[in-house]
Amino acid sequence: MNVTSLKQQWFGNVRGDVLAGIVVALALIPEAIAFSIIAGVDPMVGLYASFCIAVVIAFVGGRPGMISAATGAMALLMITLVADYGLEYLLAATILTGILQIVFGVLKLSRFMKFVPRSVMVGFVNALAILIFTAQIQHFVGETWIMYALVGLTLAIIYLFPLVTKAVPSTLVAIIIVTAIVVIMNVGVRNVGDMGALTQSLPVFALPNIPINLETLMIIFPYSLALAIVGILESLLTANIVDDMTDTESNKNKETRGQGIANIVSGFFGGMAGCAMIGQSVINVKSGGSGRLSALVAGAFLMFLILVLGNIVVQIPMAALAGVMIMVSISTFDWSSIKNLNRIPKSDASVMVVTVATVVITHNLAYGVLAGVVLSMFFFASKMSKVTVYTRYDEENDKRYYRVRGQLFFASVTDLLNSVDSNEKVTEVEIDLTKSHLWDDSAVGALNKIEAKFNRNNVKVTFKGLTADSARLLNNIGGLSNGSGH
């Protein structure tokens, strides 16, 4: 990359980037805290992660204007690791996640993203929204009507405040108002301070305090792999959305590597793994941010606010955060997918539903994606394996014609073999493959078998209309003895 474009990416839009960065920082704080609580760690872990990731990605990311920080998708993957083994293992897993992502980036694996079908991506996003929502339910257990009222108030402010002004994020306004009410009226509800410590200090470099051996690796590796995949999936999806919003292009492999570097740094500085955030990136671009500076300002300003206002942050009631998270889940959900559910092909719809169901049952987004991808592969294979055979009998010449339509490969040859009556006593058989294509050994084998069977009864078989590729395959594999005339 040359110096001018780098300069443009950093300083091409200073005013817009600084303002948008500040707006994003304000919107990031409640989310970073809430995602920490979902993961089961102290709020500082999410805040440090958001600070480290946003700042590092500003320098090493491939998509200027995109915001990365602690996210719900990643937090949801960590729950069992934290519950079973504790924070130190999470930090180690975060570092390993980063290493895996760098490997993915170096191997340019981002192009394999297109093997994840769109219906799986939609299912992924919807499942994420559902999980973020259900993670809030625990905060309501054993609470009085005050909790419901405060959550209701938070949501009302979030959705109605934009009518007044859109300059300040309405989530922040909601949190300030609800916190003020609780503090002034001295309402006894649970707050952030009850969920864990919040220290007003900068993150410091430290190695995770864990035994470095194979056993540790075996514990963290599955988590790290899931985190790495989900992180890249969401980051590249977000990068595409920002590409589209700003009508510019981005370097997906650089972004993948950048996410890795950011996660490694986050892990060493006591933060959890994160990735790009659709919602925050949209807020950033809408607020006028488009350059690398916006992510840097967002991260730095977030840390500044925590250092200065940490003792106020601990007084934020959980009700306000739950309200913000409910809003996040509502806006994350792809509502148009519900509307289109009966309009898209049934196979796509079921892939989407299976992806969502798998995630909701297993609480693991990676499993959902895997299930969705495998199911779509099955659907694809079964769709591809539909072979139609038309047949016609010419009495004058005692000749049987077959016309094959469809792809011939291991999954589809049985259909072909079943539709050809190779015991029929005719003089001649012609098989027209113009509308067909041979893909593998099984296809060649099937044709050989048909020919051999007919030949046994002294029936002459000719194959017609082989495509060039198919003919080549036939020759290479040692194909038909004599009949492959055109």
Partner: protein
Amino acid sequence: MFKHILIATDGSDNANRAIEKAVEMVEPYKEHVSMDLVYCIDGDTSKKDILKYGDAELADIKRRKMFANKLSYLEDQGIKTENVFLHGEPAKTILTQLDSKPYDCVVVGSRGMNEFQTLILGSVSHKLAKYVKIPLLIVK
């Protein structure tokens, strides 16, 4: 009368009606008219389309397809036409687009696709009526 018309469209039936009305308006001298079909892509549109189509390139192709019919309809009428995609908040980007070329009229459908959004954010046509400095035709 009006020769360089900007038509703001969201691909809805309402917007299509606006296009038809605009053509009726310039019927007597339509071979001298140019109409730009302007479509705005904001954050929500991006999110929805990328989830639906996978990447920005395909989303762009699909959007162009969405207007292909209308473009050829206008061309058949002998009207010079162009498909313009703007990125950002609709009313704001349309106002910027108006400064970039010597348009003399803006045509817009009165209602977009989402009534709830209209209720919360106010309609695009309303905002345009407030800020546009040249004649504006809102087609009901």
